[in-house]
Amino acid sequence: MYRKRLFDEMVSLGLDSLGIIMVISVFMGAVITIQTAANIDSAFIPTYTIGFTARQSTILEFSPTIMALILAGKIGSNIASEIGLMRVTEQIDALEIMGVNSSAYLILPKIVAAVLISPFLVIISMFVSIGGGYLIAALTDIVTIANYEYGVQLDFRMYHVVYSLSKSAVFAFIFTSVPAYQGYYASGSALEVGKASTRGVVQSSIIILVVNYFITQIFLI
């Protein structure tokens, strides 16, 4: 029962988010590349710095954190409203009467699915984002493809990827558990479900940003 729920949630939370992740990532990588190029005035700074900066920004911050904030909006609101609606329409009571631990049945598969699938989404986001920068290099003359590729490969540290993926798993726990809590304890009407959904998204976004600060401080400095 739980295994089926877990796979369903992995499809629902993971595969269904793939489209938005790819669209946002490609533009994110393109914009980082253009902005870095626009801000390099000095002739002493080599143009491969653009590729290097695009890679570092993407791996360290944009892919794990921005994706987490996007998913907090998409998945978080979905989780809070789904569980909240189940609460106000007595579906959770129905589970309890059947002897099912409703929180474990409804919430746990979502959290586990998101924690497992989120690092894969972030890896895809990293590739697509760096690919977005590559497109800019190919379509414009702000940096050559060769210099961009050299920058992307320069001083690559695997630790940064591990750090980033670990961070994304922590964020996944936050953007599923906080909205799930808000939805589970929603009461009253559809209006309350809407408020719970908003609370879930706002709180999880703030917690993600605060936790991001501490993780960065502890593991990167």
């Binding site: 189940m86 579906q91 009571d93 009467i97 059947m98 002897g99």
Partner: protein, 248 residues
């Protein structure tokens, strides 16, 4: 049989249930009636463990549900079916999956046996062709029927129906009442129907408990109810537009 002894429940300062003593027999349709806010839904929720009472006991064929451990409660819950006011069908499941769900978690039947049981109960509630539909594709009456099918699929000994006619037209209400009544007799189930629908009282009320301001005010059959001089019951019944001749 369900026996309730000295059951009390308060929410803050408000005494919602006061020393309820009642006995619901198997094979008959037991009705709990009363005005909105009288405590009938809270009583039902205390009986199934969704709300914990402050005092008293609920005996399921002699087993004290209130004071037993969670693990033992699970065993009793396996013998319960509950039809919710809004049906409470799981939105993300098809009709077939909804009806199969209690079988998946409460029984060790094989997949083939489960499928046969699902077909059987959907046939019983006269919904044989809706297996693949989702609850959002069903009408209110159809949802109630599927809700009944889900409640009876694991062959419960105790069936609870919370306002089974709410939101239904009078004709569909009669059909749903009839279905609950027939299933109760066919399977010798202890059925409790929480309602304020006087048509249900007259149609299927083998045993009626009238609850007034959290207290058990009266009990008897629907025929006895027609003869009673109890003022609160007369007011309740007259407000429902029934027994007007008696009032005159």
């Amino acid at each position: 049989m369900i026996e309730v002894n000295n059951l009390s429940k308060t929410f803050g300062e408000k005494h919602v249930l006061k020393d309820i003593n009642v006995r619901f027999e198997a094979g008959v349709t037991n009705l709990i009636i009363g005005a909105s806010g009288s405590g009938k839904s809270t009583l039902a929720r205390c009986l199934v463990g969704l709300v914990e009472p402050e005092k008293g006991e609920v005996l399921y064929d002699g087993r004290d549900f209130v004071h037993m451990k969670n693990k033992e409660r699970k065993d009793v819950r396996k013998e319960m079916g509950f039809l919710f006011q809004g049906s409470a069908l799981f939105d993300y499941m098809t009709v077939e999956e909804n009806v199969r769900f209690p079988l998946d978690i409460l029984t060790s039947l094989s997949s083939k046996e489960k499928q046969m049981r699902v077909d059987q109960v959907l046939e019983r509630v006269e919904m044989p062709d809706v297996h693949k539909l989702y609850p959002s594709e069903l009408s209110g009456g159809m949802k109630k029927r599927v809700g009944i099918a889900r409640a009876i699929s694991p062959n419960p000994k105790y069936l609870f129906c919370d306002e089974p006619n709410s939101g239904l037209d009078p004709q569909t209400s009669i059909v749903i009442d009839g279905l609950i009544h027939e299933i109760t007799r066919e399977n010798n189930i202890t059925t409790l129907v929480i309602t304020h629908d006087m048509n249900s009282v007259m149609e299927i009320g083998d045993f009626i408990m009238f609850i007034y301001k959290g207290e058990k005010w009266w009990e008897g059959t629907n025929k006895e109810m027609m003869e009673t001089d109890n003022q609160e019951i007369l007011e309740f019944v007259n407000a429902a537009g029934m027994m007007t001749r008696k009032q005159q």
